[in-house]
């Protein structure tokens, strides 16, 4: 367990190209060069890494709240005592989670084609659907365009951070990335629903009944009675969601390979293509370690946000 991590750490400070052992005499120590190329040295490597972090950050920002809220909503519905067909709905909601992510991704390729089902459905409402997986426009930019802002503001376009202009940082997820967001929310919700459902099943009904007797309405009971009791499960779901979304790879690999215009590039996929295709294994390993740091920071951050007030 420890040795592979140490080997990967060594690779991230070396110039290994994937030929022979990373511990052979042909491999040299390069210090922080690989990390510098990703973080501080201006150039394509930094720009690609920044692009992948931006893409994945929007992915996390959209997927985690959506899948958490949707999972909780579905679990609450399943938990209704008088709900008929409970077994069917539980299975139906969970089914996408246990289906191969590759198989579902391929189905989504057809659904979101320019002439696919989704655009046909939008056509019924008079909406001219985009070329989903080919559309690199950020949705925030599209919103601004709809409001009449057709050119990027000078302050945003002319200044950059890590090789990416602020206009690009703030573009929002691309239309193509939104398709992947829909896919992942749909496939992940079922698993988290089961976690919430199990937690709800274990709540003592007496607490809810006491609140009912005291005159609390359904909305109040949810926010003040049910949700606080679900805090540990919520923490678990958010943590797993954060870790999983920052590591998104399968769907990108099958659906888009980082295209169009690199708007679906993620750090996990960038690590893969940098290593196996570009043969810059040092940089590929460094990306993996930086991704680890990001995940730890986000987990600590949400842990702090959700800490018990009285602790």
């Amino acid at each position: 367990m420890v040795v592979p991590i140490l080997m990967a750490l060594w690779v991230s400070v070396s110039d290994w190209t994937g030929n022979g052992s990373p511990l052979s005499s042909r491999v040299h120590f390069v210090g922080a060069d690989n990390y510098a190329a990703l973080l501080t040295d201006p150039g394509l490597t930094q720009q690609n890494f920044a692009t992948s972090v931006r893409n994945n950050a929007y992915f996390v920002l959209f997927v985690v709240p959506l899948q958490t809220a949707l999972a909780l909503l579905l679990a609450m519905m399943l938990n209704q005592r008088r709900l008929k067909g409970k077994q069917f709905f539980r299975t139906a909601f969970y089914f996408p989670t246990v289906t191969s992510s590759v198989a579902i991704s391929v189905v989504f390729l057809f659904l979101f084609s320019s002439t696919g089902t989704v655009n046909a459905a939008l056509g019924l409402f008079g909406v001219n659907g985009p070329s989903w997986f080919a559309d690199p426009r950020g949705i925030f930019q599209l919103l601004l365009h709809g409001l009449g802002v057709t050119n990027p503001p000078q302050a945003l376009a002319a200044n950059s951070f890590m090789g990416l202009s602020w206009w690009d940082w703030l573009s929002g997820p691309s239309v193509a990335m939104c398709s992947i967001i829909v896919l992942v929310v749909w496939t992940s919700t079922g698993g988290f629903m089961l976690m919430f459902y199990a937690a709800l099943q274990n709540l003592p009904p007496s607490v809810d009944e006491a609140a009912l007797i005291d005159g609390a309405g359904p909305w109040q009971r949810f926010w003040r009675v049910t949700l606080p009791q679900l805090r540990p499960t919520l923490f678990l779901v958010l943590t797993l969601g954060l870790i999983g979304t920052w590591q998104v790879f399968d769907q990108v690999y099958v659906l888009s390979r980082g295209e169009p215009a690199k708007t679906t590039l993620t750090p996990a996929y960038l690590s893969y293509s940098t290593s196996f295709i570009g043969k810059e294994w040092g940089q590929g390993s460094a990306i993996a370690f930086l991704l680890f740091v990001v995940i730890v920071l986000f987990t600590l951050g949400q842990r702090w946000l959700l800490r018990e007030k009285g602790e």
Partner: protein, 413 residues
């Protein structure tokens, strides 16, 4: 508690160090030492990137045929799901397959692990010169190209006739290409379609006399008037609406758009012939060479070579296997089975007789430019593709400036 923790941490660290050191022991062997060769019957591993069952079976049959004639050797054919990944694993572990297909775009990333045997084959001069160039490094032909494809122009003959065009209108240059594409464009159909990638747009660069790198692949030559002329022309085709990218037509690639009649002309590789025969057998079309640009005719080649691992213990036997796979009639059999073009010039006449529709593709062999073979250029070219995808909105001059900067950095100039 603190004392126990520090003791545990010490134990874990010591264990980790011991394991790491034992891993070092094997690792420090000089990996450039040639593998000790074994004579006599061999068991070879042959790894390909399978494009389907037909190719795999053809390879297995060819390997079995060689086994039967070799006096006891065996060759196991492995179809890789992800060839770059599986080759990387083999090289890193020091146990690569003996013979493997090397895509031209990956060649220089693997060259250090390959036996440079190409100059010693008896049929070297029979190989197309442009393909030899692709697999030559520092003056050595490392491996023999196993087959190849080029780009040409597919024309929907029904659409052509409906637009009042005749044989005399077949475009020979850029102006004519744009003119006929304009005539062929209707509400539901684009005049021309090609994929939004350097693997198509690059042909225009060649026709203009440009290319991102110099002939030795040591210097960036992206930001030149020739390349700018080519990209500007491509932008004009797209912005005027006579050319479209496949996804704008609701198709996965140009072959699909062409086959469905959403485009009257398509720039595609010779694999389009097999694809159209299978998916759109009723389509009436012809294929002509790509129109010439300001600098003359130009197209792109796509090819793979047979690599032999420098670490293989059966290099002599591996060469014999490669020779068998490269035998002229075997190359024609491969062409028949999975649609590639033979890399040997001596079978050209017979190939054209057997596959008349491939003549336009084969005529591109002389003017075909091979792909960039440096793996470190992969992110640069991926970025170039990202820019191409944003045409016609993106500025060609800016695209080339960025490509020049990125290429210069990647080459370490």
């Amino acid at each position: 508690m603190r004392h126990t923790l520090s003791r545990t941490a010490g134990a874990v660290t010591a264990t980790g160090l011991l394991l790491t050191l034992s891993a070092c022991g094997g690792g420090f062997a000089d990996s450039t030492t040639p593998a000790t060769q074994q004579s006599g019957p061999a068991t070879l591993k042959l790894m390909i990137a399978s494009s389907g069952g037909a190719e795999l079976k053809a390879m297995q049959d060819a390997a079995a045929k060689w086994s039967a004639a070799s006096g006891g050797s065996q060759a196991e054919v492995i179809a890789a799901n992800d060839l770059p990944q599986q080759l990387s694993q083999g090289f890193a572990a020091g146990s690569p397959p003996d013979v493997f297909a090397v895509d031209a775009t990956k060649f220089e990333g693997y060259a250090d692990e390959m036996l440079p045997y190409g100059d010693s084959v008896s049929y070297k001069d029979d190989l197309y010169p442009t393909l030899r160039t692709t697999f030559t490094k520092n003056g050595k032909l490392y491996c023999v190209p196993k087959d190849f494809s080029t780009l040409a122009l597919g024309i929907n003959t029904d659409a052509w006739a409906a637009a009042g065009l005749t044989d005399n209108d077949v475009p020979k240059n850029w102006d004519q290409l744009k003119a006929v594409a304009q005539k062929l464009t209707t509400d539901g159909r684009a005049g021309l379609v090609f994929n939004n990638t350097r693997d198509r747009v690059g042909a225009f660069l060649v026709q203009a006399g440009g290319w991102p790198l110099d002939a030795d692949q040591k210097k960036a030559t992206a930001d030149t008037p020739q390349n700018l002329q080519a990209l500007t022309y491509v932008r004009d085709l797209l912005s005027s609406g006579v050319a479209k990218y496949p996804k704008q037509l609701g198709a996965g690639d140009s072959g699909e758009a062409f086959g469905q009649g959403k485009a009257a002309m398509s720039i595609d590789g010779n694999w389009m012939v097999g694809g159209l025969a299978k998916d759109h057998p009723d389509l009436k079309y012809r294929v002509v060479p790509l129109p010439a640009g300001p600098a003359g005719p130009g197209t792109l080649s796509f090819t793979q070579c047979w690599g032999i691992a420098a670490k293989s213990k059966f290099q002599a036997q591996a060469k014999q296997l490669v020779d068998a796979l490269m035998e002229p009639q075997q190359e024609l059999a491969f062409a028949k089975t999975f649609g590639v073009m033979p890399s040997r010039q001596s079978v050209r006449t017979q190939y054209q007789q057997d596959f008349p529709q491939q003549t336009a593709f084969l005529s591109g062999a002389e003017s075909a430019h091979g792909p960039v073979t440096l793996t470190k250029m992969d992110p640069v070219l991926t970025d170039f593709d990202a820019q191409i995808q944003q045409l016609p909105g993106a500025d060609p001059k800016q695209i080339l400036t960025q490509l020049q900067t990125n290429t210069t950095a990647a080459l370490g100039q």
